[in-house]
């Protein structure tokens, strides 16, 4: 019964939470740059505007592919919040991203196509660590099931701090934060217009944005798993730490410049090997 409540709450609230987080992110970024910044509800005004704009369809599959991206992300998130298999959630998450890549490759813009190939490169960069995180949870708790992981007496982070650091490093890619916002960026003016979203406008872009909000909440759900255990107060601690992680990602976004693709790949794989690999090795020896 609780699972159903969680899934419905996720499906209904995730776009709002994601939008609010985006609004907070823009305000914090503005304050870091000594600006006033937009209002908290700006992301919702943006969405409303995008839905009201004239529909320009560059082809007849892009909207459908973007909708698939949204729906598959919703499925992945629902599985996480239903307490299902974490490994499956991560696989479905990658499938969703493939639809975004297809949506971007479907149009004729060279910028969008370049964005699509960079998005694939980003997947190559973060995917190994994401899988190691799932393996880490299995080694720590003896189960891939989210339902079992949250019922452990000790928080998983006690056994997998390296994986947490690695996951924080690679989720900057997923959040499209600098220095890893290669395929598209929240910030204007980059070397390839808007990357994967170059030919998306109006409703198509709004759907992509909503999907990103679902993804954001999903990723914070995984961060949550690191800290939560069978005690009630661990939920509060997990909430607070997720907030801190969110702030750190915003800070990192503002203090770093975009890197080249080779730096992205090598740095992510190095972190995966050092932080993730060593953590897994120790887990295998100790547990």
């Amino acid at each position: 019964m609780m699972n159903v409540v969680f899934v419905i709450a996720y499906l209904v609230l995730a776009p709002f939470i994601g939008g609010l987080l985006d609004g907070v992110d823009r305000i914090i970024s503005a304050r870091m740059q000594r600006r006033k910044g937009p209002g908290l509800l700006q992301p919702f005004y943006d969405l409303g505007k995008l839905f009201s704009k004239e529909m320009i369809a560059v082809n007849n599959v892009q909207l459908l592919l973007n909708l698939s991206y949204l729906v598959i992300l919703m499925i992945a998130g629902s599985m996480l919040f239903a307490g299902a298999d974490l490994l499956m959630v991560l696989f479905i998450l990658s499938t969703a991203d493939m639809f975004l890549i297809m949506a971007a490759s479907s149009d004729s813009s060279p910028y969008a196509n370049m964005g699509a190939s960079r998005e694939m490169l980003q997947m190559m960069a973060y995917e190994p660590l994401t899988l190691l995180v799932a393996v880490g949870f299995y080694l720590t708790t003896g189960s891939f099931h989210v339902g079992d992981i949250i019922r452990e007496p000790v928080s998983a982070v006690a056994w997998m701090p390296g994986l947490l650091v690695g996951f924080m490093f690679t989720t900057a890619i997923k959040f499209r934060k600098s220095p890893f916002d290669l395929s598209t960026s929240h910030h204007a003016h980059q070397e390839m217009v808007k990357g994967i979203t170059t030919e998306m406008s109006g409703t198509t872009l709004a759907i992509m944005n909503i999907a990103e909000y679902y993804e954001m909440v999903l990723l914070f759900g995984i961060f949550f798993l690191f800290f939560v255990n069978s005690t009630w107060w661990s939920w509060i601690v997990a909430f607070v730490i997720c907030g801190v992680i969110f702030f750190l990602e915003t800070l990192w976004d503002n203090v770093s410049a975009r890197v080249k693709w080779k730096t992205l790949l090598y740095s992510c794989w190095s972190v995966t090997l050092v932080a993730g690999g060593v953590n897994i090795l120790i887990l295998m020896l100790v547990k």
């Binding site: 004239e54 320009i56 872009l205």
Partner: protein, 147 residues
């Protein structure tokens, strides 16, 4: 329904400007003027833009580009001509390669004079353009159709 003026995304194009007005346009983004407080984003993508900000007069090379950018922007949209060259052609008006102001090629909604236009007057011009943007949105809805 939400108003388009709550989240106007801006596209900036230099038709043949001396870069004086362009620097003033970018100046609007700096902490001192901070146009993001109006929800304005300076995007580089005509597909996602609501306001087209053009500096400099149109010459024979940029004419087709201006037309293409304008046609790629989804309705409702407004055009702001920034600087005297974009308004009328300015001191380059008589040049053999200059067609004149932006309105010789595409319809312009707001004219912001100045050489170079001050950031304050650019912001004033954009805010005026927002009202026109809302009027256009209402007109589009009243005319029906799938806008």
């Amino acid at each position: 329904m939400s108003k388009v003026s709550k989240s106007p995304w801006l596209l900036h194009y230099d038709a043949s400007s001396c870069n004086g007005c362009d620097i003033e346009v970018l100046d609007c983004l700096t902490p001192k003027y901070d146009i993001e407080r109006f929800g304005i984003i300076n995007t580089g993508d005509p597909f996602q833009a609501d306001i087209l900000l053009i500096t400099g007069g149109v010459n024979s090379q940029t004419e087709s580009v201006v037309k293409q950018i304008y046609s790629q922007m989804p309705e409702p949209k407004v055009v702001v001509a920034v600087g005297i060259c974009a308004c009328t052609g300015g001191v380059f008006k008589e040049c053999y390669n200059i067609k004149g102001g932006i309105d010789t090629v595409i319809p312009v909604d707001v004219y912001v004079p100045g050489c170079a236009a001050r950031p304050e007057s650019i912001i004033d011009g954009v805010v005026k353009a927002l009202q026109i943007l809302d009027e256009k949105q209402t007109a589009l809805r009243q005319n029906g159709g799938d806008s």
